[in-house]
Assembly symmetry: D2
């Protein structure tokens, strides 16, 4: 694993936990890598890794490493991932795939070559492993919602509400790429595509910077990324999705919400109550219709048989263990037989990046439709 900050901690938790919950191939936590020797040594100790190292190139060259888990900031993803894939390793790369489309395209090229060699190039859109969202995807895939007509997604946070909160690298275009759109809007769009199984074919978008300058060490500095973003997405087959992302919605802490409306049913989800899926079956008699709060903690639900008894709820971190499980199973299956695809992969990340780019391009073109 390369990187040991917030995401490194979440991934470590997953690697430590996965084998106690799931029947998976053995996994050893070999090396954690970071640039700061002292800090990474402390992290190895705290996060329970066997060794630590400061040179990721040496580590990916090691024979005893099968999987490289990339938790660094985004601008390092491409270089590391491509090298790891070329070194014959399976790779799990945190989202966003890359900082720009050119990098992402190079990564996809490396991934395709590697996949031909039986390697996996996995992207860390971990929310696809939240059981309720997986259950949602299965309901749609099985036709329980009929044909999808309309989708609403939003990701609302509030940690930038305070206009006196200082300038940081996350608020500069050069370092962060984009703001709310790329940071959290990307999750919302990934969920739309994952749950409905439909791809975005065209977009109209709008970005806004609601607090245009913030205090820096030497006085006010311009914020050059978006605080909030809105888009409408056309999906395969004509359904339309709306997306809204904001880091300025006072009081909303981590509210990734998704609503899917089809001809035969509908569903709703909110990440702040991630054990619940609200499902409406429009084929029931009118007098009994309504959104059903399904507490997604039954053994019949995705991933749940491995966890606790019914009603014992999961938290945000469990999705990372579920992701680790899926990756380990995919690695095992790759090695033994005909390989079912692992998703999301680098190509999914590139496709998502193109949707984000299209939204930015639409905003730059005063809201004009951009086709993908």
């Amino acid at each position: 694993m390369i990187g040991y900050a917030f995401m490194g901690r979440a991934h470590s938790q997953a690697w430590r936990t996965v084998a106690s919950a799931f029947e998976v191939p053995a996994v050893a936590r070999r090396v954690i890598v970071g640039r700061d020797e002292e800090a990474v040594a402390e992290a190895a100790d705290r996060l329970d890794w066997e060794e630590h190292a400061t040179d990721w190139r040496e580590v990916i060259a090691r024979e005893d490493i099968d999987i490289v888990d990339i938790c660094t900031p985004g601008f390092l993803h491409a270089e590391i991932a491509i090298a790891a894939l070329e070194a014959g390793k399976h790779v799990l790369c945190e989202k966003p795939l890359a900082n720009d489309t050119a990098e992402a395209e190079a990564m996809v090229a490396a991934a395709l070559a590697a996949q031909d060699r039986g390697q996996i190039a996995a992207l860390g859109h971990t929310y696809r492993r939240v059981p309720a969202l997986r259950q949602a995807q299965e309901l749609v895939a099985s036709g329980r919602l009929g044909e999808i007509r309309q989708v609403r997604a939003a990701y609302l946070q509030d940690w930038l509400t305070d206009e006196n909160a200082g300038m940081s690298w996350r608020l500069r275009k050069e370092t962060a790429g984009s703001g709310a759109l790329g940071d959290i809007g990307s999750h919302a769009i990934d969920q739309i595509q994952f749950v409905t199984g439909l791809s975005v074919t065209a977009v109209r978008g709008r970005l806004a910077t609601l607090v245009t300058e913030r205090p820096g060490p030497d006085g006010p500095e311009a914020v050059t990324v978006d605080d909030a973003a809105w888009a409408t997405l056309e999906l395969d087959g004509g359904a339309i999705a709306s997306v809204e992302a904001s880091r300025m919605t006072t009081g909303r802490k981590n509210a990734l919400s998704l609503e899917v409306y089809g001809t035969r049913g509908a569903l709703r989800f909110d990440l702040e109550n991630l054990n619940e899926l609200w499902f409406l079956d429009a084929t029931l008699p009118a007098a009994e219709q309504g959104f059903t709060r399904v507490l997604v903690t039954e053994p019949e639900h995705p991933y749940l048989a491995a966890w606790w008894p019914q009603g014992h709820v999961l938290g945000w971190e469990n999705a990372f263990s579920n992701q680790a499980r899926d990756l380990l199973v995919a690695v095992r299956d790759r090695e033994t037989a005909e390989a079912p695809g692992y998703s999301p992969d680098f190509a999914d990340g590139l496709a998502l990046q193109r949707v984000l780019d299209a939204i930015i391009a639409s905003d730059a073109a005063d809201g004009a439709t951009v086709t993908l």
Copy 2:
């Protein structure tokens, strides 16, 4: 109509409204009766009654009066209701039926005699006309919950939380009969019996006065009724219901809640969101089970075809119009053909009074079971 306070206002609203919502026989609002000439004249004007009067005996003797609606304080119910029934009128009497069991028995006797003459003696347990509770009753009656095993009911208010709130007639046993138990617990128990269709066969009860004295005009006075009450009720067939009533539950405004658990399903209701019924169908696959929020505003729901389009919610007062509708229809049916029973009637009120008495008796006997 006799009485023009809070309940008189709610009943007036119903009589004024019923014919614009429902197909019912014509109803004229002839006379409103009260002891204070000036006040009742003002009420007649404001509440839109044709005439006012101060002597209820004269009014019930009038030929042009078919229905007598009694909205007076409870201690006047027996005298007026018996006289009205003897005068050949249909009667709608607000709850509680009477202040004590002896009075209630006399009223039931008068009602039985009157029913033989084709009259109706109706009791105003209006919550039976809240559409979601009626829908609940129909679900249970149709077997959708299977055999009922357990019920939970509570009626929680908070208007006595302030210990400096002064003494009043409602807090003295002589004038009020009982406290939270009779005032609001009675509603909870009526709903248990109405929705499940089961009768109470035995009880254990507990009463408590949590603020034992309150300021009166000449210093502290003892509160002699209960602030809160708890009971377990055995129902026909062995199900057990719990009931809790309190006027001291800070922040709960009018929270009559009901939960019914059966072998095949369950349901939940809360009067503060009275357009919603939560229904769980335990025969569905486990992965799809959960409480469904049914917004009871569809034309297929009880009473709703008469009101507004779907999703346009009703309020507390509409239940009174629904009650007026049921009474007018029952009156019409009585006059034309074989008469289906109107419920709740005076006998239901007496039966409820006996349950309340049994709870009080149980508390007095240190919680011992009292059989009905």
Copy 3:
């Protein structure tokens, strides 16, 4: 009152009820007007009007008529309203003000002239009289939310979900003007402006017809209005609001939702639970912050002192009585003294119409910003 369909019934309920709830000047329900003699006679009887008539011109000429309440379909609003204002009457006109901007401008001209003569020209955006929304408006006006930065509004219904539901006048541009946008999106936009007190200065919009043809008597016909609409609105001072309206969102019955995010607080509302306002005070300590469910049934809340005790919830129809109260009080105040403005008036309706037109124009221009 002219018109006796759904809206006529709701308005009749209000005129019948207003004086029993509020201290207002006397109001007689003189004449109800409709084109079909038999039907309007029946309506007069059922809705409790003194007389009925078929010629609205005769009625507005009568001396004993002070207020003309227009509940006809939209294409008749302009002619009747202008005539009534010219005849010296106060006018309450249901929304939408008119079918097109030219008509609306003529109505505003007539209203301005009439207002100079002391008349009121009121528009029926009744949701402004829902107590929770009025409470929301007061919280914003008093500065409790600080500076407004972001707003989210949606109005979601599902009565067009069934693609086999037949063609009707509401689905043709010639007769209906627009679809979801004008029908329900207009409510959402009115609420944004009402609650925040901010005006729309520019828009980007998108419309979509998700079911493009529907069965007519002679085979499939093209649907020529929008099933769903999306827009972002720029508000005075730079805040941005998103709006979404749809009649295809399966399972959403009457879900007008509003979320307002400011620098010091936030609030949320949903018309399906119209007695609740969710308020977040961002100046509280972080450990105690959260959305508070205020049950808007206290005497301290707008309009509530006139209704029932705390916790006894109101329904959709009560907002019409509240509106009648405000209009009667405004009429009284006009006649006695310096006149505070009544809002919303015809000018508000015209301004709203211009926002809707701008959204349509933006969609026609491939999403380009349209400035107001």
Copy 4:
């Protein structure tokens, strides 16, 4: 750690995780103990323990063991705990403390002696480490609710709803001690005492077996424990709490709910949404009062600074890590300085056992008050 079933798995998760979340003394997972050699070896591997063993006596004699974590069935608790305490170890014992009061008293005696030697005898009422419940306890302790007057607690599950579910040791008095009361009602009562800081002084109780026989291998067998239990508890100072526990409440999966009503405020909690605490501040103006949904994921909340960013919710299992943290800190503090008490300890477990016994005794005495 002794025992490796459901609870053993949850505790292992905690010991594995605690040091990556919290600043705590180093903890090595030395030995896991079970009777079945093969199974415990497999558990050691899966749950990541250094060694496994089959003889707990040998293990507690080891010098390199500081803490003994007892996750066995209840009937083994006393013997192991007393031996471990006598061997000078700190002990964490899962609830219930013991199967009967005599055992519990012996354990408390051993604990008192051990505590004098600086050892900790901790009881695993883990829900005290759910952050929202800890926050609730702190709000009450700081006086934000004023004087507590009334409490409502329930623990509702549904895994015995099916009357064809077979007989098991949990349904026999000899092996299980009691039914819903001891299994889950005990949690509810512990929470009442923990959150309010008040002790139970007297009880009235009722138990019921709703399905009296269930299929065994040789035909129907009698169920000899309670399916459901109800009690009212008198608390220090006169407040009254109601408790209800059931394993027959269809559709309720793991619904431990708590409501606390005081003179200055109130709070509500439900374990199925364990990241939420609903708090009402009754000192606010009436128009702004209501239950506030506090999402207990802020760094200012108990335990939360160690976990994830705000809005990233925790699951059921995190409470076990929080418990491990508190125990490790208490061990450290014991060793270094004056020792603050660890709670809950064995004496708390005995006190709770006496409340449960009193409820059973009350039921046996037809509901009579039993004083503690």
